[in-house]
Subunit: 499 residues, 2 copies
Amino acid sequence: MTISVECFLLDPQHSGTLQSRIRQMVAEGILAGRLRPGERMPSSRRLAEHLGVSRITVTLAYADLVADDYLRARGRSGYFVSDSAPQPGDFPQPGARGTDVVDWARALGHRPASGQLNMGKPRNWREFRYPFVYGQADPELFDHANWRGCMIQALGQRDFARMTDDQFEQDDPGLLEYIARHTLPRRGILARGDEILVTLGAQNALWLTAQLLLNQRRNAGIEEPGYPGLRDILNQTRCKVTGIPVGPRGLEPDALPEGMDVLFCTPSHHCPTGATMPLEARHALLVVANARGLLVIEDDYEFEISHDRAPLPALKSLDREGRVIHIGSFSKSMFPGLRLGFLVGPAEFIREARALRATVLRHPPGLLQRAAAHFLSLGHYDAMLRRLTRAFAARRAVMLAAVRAEGLTIAGAAGDGGSSLWMRTPDGVSATELSQALRADSVLIEPGGPFFGESLGNDRCYRIAYSSITQDRIAEGIARIARRTRAMTPQGQRTSRAG
Amino acid sequence: MTISVECFLLDPQHSGTLQSRIRQMVAEGILAGRLRPGERMPSSRRLAEHLGVSRITVTLAYADLVADDYLRARGRSGYFVSDSAPQPGDFPQPGARGTDVVDWARALGHRPASGQLNMGKPRNWREFRYPFVYGQADPELFDHANWRGCMIQALGQRDFARMTDDQFEQDDPGLLEYIARHTLPRRGILARGDEILVTLGAQNALWLTAQLLLNQRRNAGIEEPGYPGLRDILNQTRCKVTGIPVGPRGLEPDALPEGMDVLFCTPSHHCPTGATMPLEARHALLVVANARGLLVIEDDYEFEISHDRAPLPALKSLDREGRVIHIGSFSKSMFPGLRLGFLVGPAEFIREARALRATVLRHPPGLLQRAAAHFLSLGHYDAMLRRLTRAFAARRAVMLAAVRAEGLTIAGAAGDGGSSLWMRTPDGVSATELSQALRADSVLIEPGGPFFGESLGNDRCYRIAYSSITQDRIAEGIARIARRTRAMTPQGQRTSRAG
């Protein structure tokens, strides 16, 4: 490959002769790793033309660089970066181009990174033999062939405008229609087109909602434990946040404190315990919400992964006062990298959410909306969900049997579907330490600390998901967790239990 | 198609017999447009099983619905929605399921929609014969075949993890490398991987930057006229905004008022006038910024569409103090629906921007990042840019000749490339009214009002882009603009000019 001549720009602030400036420019490029051993330099004629200097100046600079082994001449083929040229670091390093004098600690008005907790899923999780990781796609279950087909269809001439246009004001009509006619009716929800907004995944839907409804004078209620990403979202609005303890039947309407403006909840499957809120509790929650003028944000988390029974009607379907906002996602069961979710609420609310979305990111990419619409309307999504649900149910059964055989303790719901189990360590065993120790055994689990408010410092829970581990590895993986757990359990407790 | 049984949920709050509730459920579905003429109902056995009622109850309800012509029985094939069933509206209507009692005017803590100006590009712009619309892809110039090929490559098994994984903490390595080694060096910029963040288009990069650097105690400077989307972004931070008039050579460093914390600018091509900031002015701007501790946000708008000369080095490449943050985009020249841009700045700033991005949307879809990386690294992007630049230069020449022949007035820069011209109407002619009148002539232009602060109320400018109109239609389109303009010019002025 010849390096494009456009990659060369003379630094107008460097002093020195033209020849030395060209030399410096090339050497800096090599030292910064932008020009790599074996790559071909532009011809002296091309570079001279591009820089507006005489050809002899470039030739002399090249000769200089050859003398210092930055470049090597190969007869008529021209000049190449020398294989023995000085080595840069692994990634392009900025040259010594001045010092950063800005005080970023002062310049940054907001510091979201400092508040965020690392969820501790290593990038190389696929290299672990027993990855009980949550929220990644399983290549065995994903319908790759049909997704590819639908993408190719969406890439066709017919869909050109939907793919390329800037269309912040309107989502893909096919996707909207599918959501309105197929997805929502299964949740008992009726909605018009102007009551639905396509978002960049459920995360984006939660964020838009929080931004619109909260500020520093308002109070939000969240589940405790609960989705850590939601805490980050709420911290950004500077609202007051109250954690509401969640029991084996999900959120208890009786436990709701007074004075909240907005409540965030996951009735279908509580995140992370997996508990499902019973129908009576849903009605009771709405009675409380109506009486207190509370808005309820329903994250319809994992409703589609229900093993033993049909999902209960969504809270939104029971809402008679228009105070429930419903959030759904295709990313979770298709694949997280898709980033497609949706928001359902009153038209007035959706109009504001659309305007906010336009300011932040204009719109979710049209190509993905279109391809998802094809995948959904051709029935591939439903077929994949059925396969996925069956596989998850089988994996769950194996996991429950192994967990019981090994004497591990389930802290959350055991019978309500979903894609993970919520576990508790014995007294004296830190879930964080357990998780770290297990990496040496090629086992990945997720410590539960981030699901609790920082103040609580609970380090006794962990999550083990069965969405990305094959069925035949589950028993051995659980056995390894149990072995490490026993090894870490304080002596007295272990003996008393054995006795 | 048989309607899925899962679409049917009995409303637990409806009173009446089971039979009447089933009847109501089906009728409501038809009236709401969810069940459509010709669609097949689930068999009475399936529906009874699903609802947990006796089969005879469903059969009786179906008979009732047939009697009222909601359904039609077709012998052994079962029941279908009748072709003469009552018609719903065009879009699913929510049933009479209660009243919205929430006072949304009070409930909404923020109302972004009310501040936004409609940019007035009709959805059906492709149906206009003379679409001088800005910022849409031209199917004649877009390299559809290679984009399709790169997408198909990104859809392969090898890239499965990059497509499906949730990877908010790291962008596509191939895309990052291309940006670091090819895109930025052409702008004279050296950056490491931790100094670059992939964003959901330039809009998202601007938004992230504004959120991090501004709050209600800080002052932002913007170009006047300038990109209307930026005003929406800044309004959200509640910072103080100062408009800085832009001349024929872009932003004038001497005109910068004291007391600003952050300056947003478009040195490559000013939006919307097309002016390019000369090199000396760039240096002068940095001298002012260094002296005052000002941060500068460089939106490298349309740098790649330069007709007559190589682009000038980016402001960021001249920055010695680390106070310039650089924003680029692939969406503008590839296609707006792609939504891929990038942010370049000090690692400390980028870390915070990444955390904020994760909260708002997690990450730009991996599939699009990967496909773009292929398209870029295979050289298709550069080839397309060359073709696009040639075509735009030719269209621009035709446009300039027509504009001069018709005596229309150019308000912005005429010679600096870009994809549009910034025009001025004669005294007494409203650009808004001109734009509306021209729709009857199948001509679309963009009134310039939204580019000015609301207070100014300037209605004398408009933008005509040549990125989506074919070359052979430009002259006639301009002639129609001139004709309408003359017809709308007040009598006295027209006569005096003719005289």
